[in-house]
Amino acid sequence: MKNLTKILLVVIVTALFAGCVEDKKTPDQPINLVKMGGQDMVQRLGAGEIAGFIGWEPYPAIAITKGYGKPLMYSGDIWKEHPCCVVAYDQDWYKQTENADEILDRMALVQLKSVEYINNAKESGSPDHDDLINYSMAFGGMTDRAAAEMSLKDVEFVYSPNIPGTETFISKIMDFNIFDSAKWNQSGYVNASDYANNLITDRYVKWALQNREKDLSSLAIKEPVTIRYGYLVNDIHELPFYVGWQKGWFEDVGINITLSEGTPFQNGAFEMQKGFKTNAVDIGSLGLPPVIIHRINSNDFAVDDARVGVISGMNNEGSVIVVAGNITSLADLRGKTVGFPGPGTIQHVLFLMAAEKAGVRVSY
């Protein structure tokens, strides 16, 4: 009995001490970024379990229209017209496909047409507006029309790749020590500019611009090809792909789209590691930072298995920091939990950039 009492006392004291240690508060507490899925972010903000989240549209719009939170900062406030999602191809697929350039030309053309369609249809007076809202709701997993309208407003759809923006992202990722330094050394890139220029090409978009007025079927590849496409779950940023697919524009140019194994991916890091690296994805859309990070960190440079190339932009901006009603600044989030899609995602890098400007620390 004496021993049991001793153990009981030790256990209680240790547990209490442990609790005190864990709950220790300091004046300069970091904001705690915690990885979670988009639907989880919305639900947990609604339940008051997290103080906010940074997510891609439509999750911010869903949370705001449900009354769970308010926008604290749009990603355009952090970095005006920052590049976001892109269309990328797998280098192994490229090497093994004889007419890869021909296919990529047409992928860029469909992207251009889809972006033009969306940008026109975004206007509420457009005859295509209702169709666009329906596409958004279906692709974004939304049931609320108001959320679909709001999410579309926050995203700028583009087709041009953004090399200077990519360089900035690479520099920031270096500053934040996200690259595996040994892998970076193996890559042989001299600096951010060298890497960005190796990663991105605008040759396919140039071809698309030259052929934008032509009828799609007149540009069809002689022998139709099948492309295994990868995209992110419910990501409105990638709506141009969905529109082009639903409109049958890929088929018009001789490209049959099948969804790759693993699609839709939970985040860009997964798409790079389980999609492109394993050759499950031929062409796909995802955030630019996961492409930048995993082409280095997850790459086996002996065979370059995580090497991808970016052929076009998908969107600029389109992420939002949504917070609970009592939060008015990033500083108010100190010591609190904020949801994000995961390390190495665009939202991760953007949040770090916002924190850098606001002078607050972020743990992840």
Partner: protein, 269 residues
């Protein structure tokens, strides 16, 4: 302490086995990277070598700050996970021992609680994770540890109480001991070795459960969270280093409770 030649020999074999495993690990990865050997459906070459893992372990041991980003060191992750295990384990101990004594000693309590415990104890701690996410605002990981630890403690306490020599209880009764005195002076001391064994098994289960819980029930710090995060960043060397740390800490925890057991229960053996 090493007592004799046999133990010394055993220790040498242990060390050689460990060194042999590290060499085997290194050769396997090098062969995979040179495309000499691979296991189908596996990307062995992506596994870091022991040296890469060691470098990653050393590099991520302490908290680092880059710009506004603060990445917790492995030391902080160990502490956070251990704190949760201790908290969950303490709750399990405080609740499990009285429940086990009750069930072991009283037929009525046994009949009331046993059917529930028999069903609930067969639910693995990981199966509770979704429920913990939905019903608990905070402390989900601690709850999962509690589930992992409490049943080994209850079952071992029941076993310990039931293994008590009936003659001791009869003797205490004959001498006029009350029920409380029988429990305190006879049953608990008798069941004590078994309770400690339950605690050790429970902490082992709790340690495994915490890592799984931290992967799903997200918190900013904890070993489960660390290895998942490193995987997301494609930093496999850090990820494997984290896995090894989990194993080493679990081993140390087990040894510590064994030593505690030996120290507290000197009358056994």
């Amino acid at each position: 302490m090493i007592k004799n030649d046999s133990e010394r020999k055993g220790l040498i074999i242990n060390i050689l086995s460990l060194i042999g495993f590290i060499i085997f690990w290194h050769i396997l990865i090098v062969l995979a990277r040179e495309h000499i050997f691979n296991i189908p459906f596996m990307r062995l070459k992506d596994i870091p070598t022991p040296l890469e893992t060691w470098n990653a372990l050393v590099g991520s041991m302490f908290t680092q700050t880059y710009g506004p980003g603060l990445t917790y060191g492995i030391i902080d992750h160990i502490r956070a996970s251990l704190v949760r295990v201790v908290q969950g384990g303490a709750m399990a101990f405080i609740i499990g021992v009285p429940v086990g004594i009750g069930i072991g000693y009283s037929r009525l309590i046994h009949n009331i609680l046993n059917p529930i415990i028999e069903i609930v104890r067969n639910m693995p701690p990981m199966a509770w994770i979704p429920l913990a996410i939905f019903i608990l605002v905070t402390g989900g990981s601690i709850f999962i540890v509690f589930i992992g630890v409490v049943f080994p403690i209850i079952l071992n306490t029941i076993y310990g109480v039931r293994s008590t020599d009936a003659r001791l209880i009869d003797a205490a009764r004959t001498l006029g001991a009350s029920q409380v005195q029988i429990v305190a002076k006879v049953l608990i001391p008798s069941a004590f070795p078994s309770i400690i064994a339950g605690l050790r098994i429970g902490f082992g289960v709790g340690w495994m459960a915490i890592v799984a819980a931290e992967m799903v029930i997200r918190s900013p710090v904890g070993l489960g969270y660390f290895i998942w995060n490193m995987g997301d960043l494609g930093r496999y060397a850090e990820m494997v280093a984290g896995m090894i740390v989990i194993g080493v800490v679990g081993y140390i925890m087990n040894i510590s409770i064994l030593l505690l057991e030996k120290r507290l229960i000197k009358w056994v053996d």
